[in-house]
């Protein structure tokens, strides 16, 4: 297969777009498309201070690379989760993130959960009822709390995460299976700050398939952690991704259509507004971050458990 734009051999075939591109043109196309969606969804401008949540994985490092190359003011935040899993997972992820930042002279904030809160994610998960069953839920609550805190403390305008289309479609699939109206209403590439204590969140890579962000990282020579988080083995999100990929194999574009049709339906008002209003959010008496709980927020309750 040859590149659509020149006679060179294509390195990737994006069947959902009927588009094969060579290395040079793919490395132009993906950042151009990212820019297009940043503008289309009014994510941020070059005047904004952006905090990129980096995990050491392909998506977040690819995102940081694209934003940096495009001249955005983007710093990184790495959260050390204290996950070992026999492969020093968190330690390795931190090193990939640090090396990426150092090589480009970028600023990387780091927060080590064990150091700051006295327990690692696996330790918190073990002693909370929610965590024993679903350690990923504990991890999600912790990351959201810390990302918001750091973004506010340092005056960032927006928090950017590396979620790709496969991530978003898998979350949508999961929320749809349970008809979680509140979650469906809020899911999207831009999450506006619903409270003065919350920072806006955006997902600039939400239109790209996972194999495209991986191809970008590979072709750009970005070193990222290849091993999976030990807790993600058997995770529901991976199960849903596999199902969606089976549909994609039969019908190229199925994942993209599923997600974009959802966004359109949401825009047309298919999902009700969440019942909770911003005035019902109060400051957590411990960390000060907005919470719907009348007492400690979910993160502080977990840490204190």
């Amino acid at each position: 297969m040859n590149c659509r734009k020149c006679d060179q051999k294509a390195v990737i075939n994006m069947r959902q777009h009927k588009l094969g591109l060579c290395k040079t043109h793919f490395l132009q196309w993906l950042p151009q498309q990212t820019e297009r969606f940043i503008t289309k969804y009014k994510m941020f401008s070059r005047a904004d201070k952006i905090l990129v949540a980096v995990s050491g994985g392909k998506d977040s490092l690819a995102l940081w690379d694209i934003l940096n190359e495009a001249g955005y003011q983007a710093d990184g935040l790495y959260i050390g989760l204290g996950i070992d899993g026999g492969l020093n997972y968190s330690g390795k992820s931190l090193r990939f993130s640090q090396k990426f930042a150092e090589a480009r002279g970028l600023k990387l904030h780091t927060v080590d959960i064990q150091h700051e809160y006295g327990s690692s994610i696996p330790e918190i998960a073990e002693r909370t009822p929610k965590g024993v069953e679903k350690p990923c839920a504990v991890c999600g609550v912790s990351k959201r709390n810390i990302m918001n805190r750091v973004a506010r403390q340092h005056g960032y305008d927006v928090l950017a995460t590396g979620h790709n289309l496969d991530d978003e479609a898998a979350i949508l699939f999961s929320n749809t299976m349970l008809w979680l109206g509140n979650y469906l209403q809020r899911q999207g590439p831009v999450l506006e700050a619903a409270h003065p204590g919350l920072v806006r969140k955006v997902k600039p890579l939400f239109r790209f398939y996972e194999r495209e962000t991986a191809a970008y990282a590979l072709l750009r020579g970005i070193n990222y952690i290849y091993e999976e988080c030990p807790f993600s083995i058997g995770a529901k999100s991976i199960y849903y991704k596999e199902i969606l990929n089976r549909m994609e194999a039969d019908r190229p574009g199925a994942k993209l259509i599923f997600y974009l049709s959802f966004l359109r339906a949401r825009e047309l008002g298919l999902f009700a507004e969440p019942q909770r209003t911003t005035s019902e959010l109060a400051a957590c008496p411990n960390c000060g971050q907005p919470t719907a709980s009348p007492d400690l927020c979910a993160f502080c309750r977990m840490v204190a458990a």
Binding site: M1, K9, A10, V11, I12, N13, G20, K23, G57, K58, D59, C136, C139, D166, Y209, E210, R211, T213, A214, A215, L218, L219, Y226, E228, C229, F231, S232, I233, A235, S237, I238, K241, E242, N245, R246, E248, A249
Partner: protein
């Protein structure tokens, strides 16, 4: 003379027949095309590429959880 090639995915190695496309080899191994990127000597390959004799095709898994 061997007419085979090798496909590697993480710690698994598969011996396959040369002369077929990447797409065909993946289908026979029941590896979803969407879940991997195929590389030969570090170069990315599209799935219509013919696998030559003695090729070593390294697959990069692209699905991540969390």
């Amino acid at each position: 003379m061997s007419m085979s090639a090798t496909i590697i995915l993480r710690d698994q190695e598969f011996e396959i027949k040369a002369g077929q496309t990447v797409r065909s080899a993946l289908r026979k191994l029941e590896i979803p095309n969407e879940a991997v990127l195929a590389t030969r000597q570090g170069e990315l390959l599209t799935d219509d590429e013919i696998i030559e004799r003695n090729d070593v095709i390294k697959l990069i898994s692209v699905i991540s959880g969390g």
